[in-house]
Amino acid sequence: MPETNGCIYGYIAEFEDSESLLEAAHRTREAGFRRARGHSPYYVEGLADALGDNTGDLIAWYVLGGILLGGVAFFLLQFITGAVWYPLNIGARPIVAWQAWMIITFEGSVLGGGLAALLGLVLQIQLPLPYHPIFNAPDFHLASSSRFFLSIEARDPLFDEEGTWQFLESLEPTKVSEVTC
């Protein structure tokens, strides 16, 4: 339990491998912590779920919306420009040739879906965020290559300086540190 110099963002525990992190995540959730996050160099299946996050599904809705919007937009683009604004008779082909428009409608829906996925992702994970207090944690630069971390924010209703520190130590990490903000 170190000296706190005023402001702390939270505590962070360091683990050697993904299994211990996953195990620790389950126990953190059981202990009732709400604002806990795992940090791993690669995608650990079930880690976010273990910490009680299942809102990732929203992206699928964004994409569905994007697909529909993109498809409708590109179809209407062809309809309005090709059949309403300036219908041109080219070799007696039908003016409203919706079958032939399907290819661009398809491309439009894929484009809409892709852009919506990007937008949804950016809105949900709130990046870019070049500065974040978590980067103050010691050894955190290893989170992208070889170490696994579990952080609990001070904002968590269950957080108290002594108890949370002891709880993190009980998870048997290699190290527990304080993250200043």
Binding site: Y86, P128, Y131, F140
Partner: protein, 218 residues
Amino acid sequence: MQIFRPGVNTVAKISILAGALVTVLVLNFLFVQDRSPYSRARAGIAVAQPVRFSHQLHSDQLNISCNYCHASANEYAYAGIPDTHTCMSCHSQIAVYSELLEPVRTSYETGDPLVWNKVHDLAEHVYFNHGVHVQNGVGCETCHGRVDQMALVWQAETMTMAWCLECHFAPEDFIRPADEIFTFGYEPPIDQAVLGEQLLEEYEINPEGLGDCWVCHR
């Protein structure tokens, strides 16, 4: 270890929004600029001419018909700029010593034509026949604006393709009776919707196909 200071977060967010905003503004500017009568046609800005000829004086006050000077406008592809003789047909008697008319008299003496500056310069790939339009109920005013109110002439309309097509797609909204072609400040005597249909029949205009490429681009 931190790489960036906390303020960079704000910079990042603002730069994304600003990037989007600037893109929208630039596109919007291009969109408006492309259609603006000022940037397309310098509308409202008179074109300097070698002689300060006033359409307002000749057309409005003196009530000389357009046809008197632009004699081929009725029947020929080119509306025609009057030669010096046309000017001198009056100005050998009127305002004979006017300094403003010095270039006209010089031209008359030497035989070198006056070099007027072109106001309406259509793109080269447009085949435009002036006579066809006059013969089919398009008034001078419809394309050239209130020339009778202009001391020196400017281009009143943008003359973009979309502008041409407005009438080519729906001539009934614009054409007028044959005796009103040279009228300025014309108001349709009856509802244009009714009049337009009547005139289409009168002029034997078939609006279908007027939007075809080859009509203007030969």
